[in-house]
């Protein structure tokens, strides 16, 4: 009797394990054997876009960058730049649907630098590097017309109005803050904010939510009067190129030979990137300069620490964007994502994942820790940008000609046709 009981228990155990097995494999019904000779179709899994086309994108980027640099630097042809702009809108814009782009590649680079398990595509790396290298050699020719976001704004800039210099300076800080946000959120693996808030991708895909079309449309509408608002006052990649371009080996010039100060190009630039000549060098007293530099050199570290301190006070709010931190917070406070009556989808998914709340809390705490460190750098960087902008306002640059501001000039070549000077014949 006892033996039978043992066997029964054993059988029950076997059946239970089998049950557990079938539950995971879900083989409730056996695969049929057809008598009529029916052959079972094969599941078709369409293959992704071939890698060859990724390299084609790279070739197109290189070719259009080289061509546009040649048009700007050698041919001095606005028509050529415009032609490339149109091609880029068609290729990188409508054909490639705004993805891949150099602006978004910042985040791939950051994620790859901070997260070990992310394998960065070679194209993303090169899309990030190539325009920076070109900018270091010839200035921001990438912005001129190879960036699809810049190109689409450039061709709608019909009635550009000047922006007040102080406003231009203040708004010019925004790209650096945006860059800091993008790097913070990409480094923590939270989100790609640049891609998420790309205003024109909706047009390129001809398919977007109403809000996206509205924002994109607004940018284009503003862009008719204030040329390239995204490039000048938001673009984080533009912020990088802005820095690099200041130190470029070569840069386009307004005049093909010597500037004769005829003032014809004064209002030619839709981006306010032409520096007026400073006729006489007014030397300040040495003690004034020294005192100012002492103050500024003290102010910059103070700004960095203050920025870091302020941002780190908000690190929990910054971390709340991360889905895991959000989930832990919702579970801890029992708020259920504001859903009443049933479990929110996230809560259901979490319950079915088999993870314990303690595991989730430790993971979330680690992410919040990352944000704590990151927010010090984030705030410190913003403090540094403010400090350097202040120094930039006080630095006196002597130049006798009308010349492009290397930081803000987008090399669009509009100013060139206003210059009456003929190129020197050799």
């Amino acid at each position: 009797m006892n033996k039978i009981k043992n066997i029964a228990v054993y059988l029950l155990f076997v059946m239970l394990t089998l049950q557990a097995f079938t539950l995971s494999a879900k083989n409730r019904f056996p695969k049929p054997e057809f008598e009529s000779g029916h052959t079972q179709p094969v599941t078709i899994t369409p293959s992704p876009r071939a890698i060859f086309f990724e390299y084609l994108d790279l070739v197109v980027l290189l070719a259009s960058l080289t061509l546009i640099s040649w048009f700007v630097m050698k041919k001095r042809s606005r028509k050529g730049v415009f032609g490339i702009s149109v091609f880029v809108i068609l290729y990188f814009g409508f054909y490639r649907e705004g993805c891949i782009c150099s602006i978004g590649a910042i985040q791939n680079i950051t994620l790859a630098l901070f997260k070990v398990n992310y394998t960065i595509p070679l194209t993303a790396l090169l899309f990030f590097l190539i325009p920076i290298v070109y900018t270091l050699f010839v200035g921001r020719t990438f912005c001129a017309g190879v960036c699809p976001l810049g190109a689409i704004q450039d061709i709608v800039a019909f009635r550009p109005m000047p922006v007040k210099a102080w406003l231009e300076k203040v708004l010019g800080i925004i790209p650096f803050i945006y860059l800091a946000f993008a790097i913070l959120y990409a480094a923590t693996g939270t989100d790609f904010v640049i891609c998420r808030y790309d205003p024109f991708v909706g047009f390129f895909r001809m398919d977007a939510s109403f809000a996206m079309f509205l924002i994109g449309g607004l940018f284009l509408l503003i862009g008719v009067f204030i040329a390239r608002p995204y490039c000048r006052f938001l673009c984080p990649y533009g912020a990088l190129l802005n820095i690099v371009s200041r130190f470029s080996f070569k840069h386009m010039s307004i005049t093909p030979a010597g500037c004769i100060n005829c003032k014809l190009c004064e209002n030619a630039c839709p981006f306010g990137a032409i520096d007026m000549p400073v006729p006489h060098k007014e030397k300040e007293k040495t003690e004034v300069i020294v005192r100012r530099y002492v103050i500024l050199s003290l102010v910059i570290p103070v700004l960095i620490i203050a920025g870091g301190f302020i941002a780190s006070n908000f690190h929990e709010n910054l971390a709340m964007v991360h889905h895991k931190v959000k989930l832990a917070n919702e579970i801890m406070n029992n708020t259920n994502y504001g859903v009443i009556g049933k479990d929110a989808i996230e809560i259901t998914a979490f319950k079915s994942s088999g993870q314990t709340t303690e595991q989730l809390y430790t993971e979330a705490a680690a992410i919040v820790d990352e944000f704590n460190t990151g927010s010090w750098f984030f705030g410190g960087f913003i403090g540094l940008v403010f400090g350097l902008t202040l120094i930039g306002l006080t630095v006196f640059k002597y130049h006798p000609d009308y010349s492009p501001n290397k930081a803000n000039c987008l090399s669009c070549a509009r100013c060139m046709k206003y210059c009456p000077v003929l190129p020197e014949k050799k």
């Binding site: 409730r28 019904f29 057809f34 890698i51 070679l122 989100d191 994942s353």
Partner: protein, 197 residues
């Protein structure tokens, strides 16, 4: 004039400029070397792990494409060819006909075809499928789970950051190498499960 006096100032600026040029080049080189020594790939694409997927329905609504690039894929090798298909019929259907009121799929994207007694074959019409996952849920609850949500890579734009992956509650969507594009059961060539449960 006072050009001789200006000379040291200019060369200081020039020195600063040269220094910055080289540090930018060095920085770029550093990034390149740092990333090449780490894992690099030709490209990555998005993949749904069907074991993690809970069919919440966000694939249908959150994809930047309309209709979504996520479609229902039928792993025929796993299908039981049931007459009463949990993925095809609404729960509680009495008479098993293809009448519209019986169908679970909101767009009638599943075709039911009689093979032989008692087997029926189900095909997904990709043009009608919106990737809502209702049939997937039904098949998983009552059948073998041969219907599964996967990203159709002929439709997927391969965004830098997948809008569905961002909002997926069960983190079922991740970046993989192109050869691992599909991770589902019932394919002839069996996939290895890289993403553990």
């Amino acid at each position: 004039m006072n050009s001789e006096k200006d000379l040291p100032i200019i060369s200081r600026r020039e020195f600063f400029r040269k220094g910055m040029q080289w540090s930018i080049l060095l920085g770029l080189g550093g990034i390149t070397v740092g990333l090449i020594s780490k894992t690099m790939s030709d490209k990555t694409i998005w993949q749904i792990d069907t074991k993690k997927c809970i069919q919440c329905g966000r694939c249908a609504t959150n994809c930047i494409k309309n209709p979504s690039a996520v479609k229902c894929f039928h792993g025929y090798d796993l299908c039981g060819y049931c007459d009463l298909c949990g993925g095809y019929f609404k729960p509680g259907t009495k008479i098993l006909t293809t009448a519209a009121e019986n169908q679970l799929c909101p767009t009638a994207a599943i075709n039911r075809k009689f093979i032989e007694e008692p087997f029926f074959e189900y095909d997904i019409d990709k043009k009608l499928c919106i990737g809502c996952g209702k049939c997937v849920k039904g098949c998983g609850a009552f059948g073998n789970g041969s219907l599964q949500l996967q990203i159709d890579h002929s439709l997927c734009d391969n965004c830098n950051e997948c809008a569905i992956a961002r909002d997926c509650p069960s983190n079922a969507i991740s970046r993989v190498l192109p050869k691992k594009a599909y991770l589902m059961q019932g394919l002839r060539a069996h996939n290895e499960w890289k993403n553990k449960l």
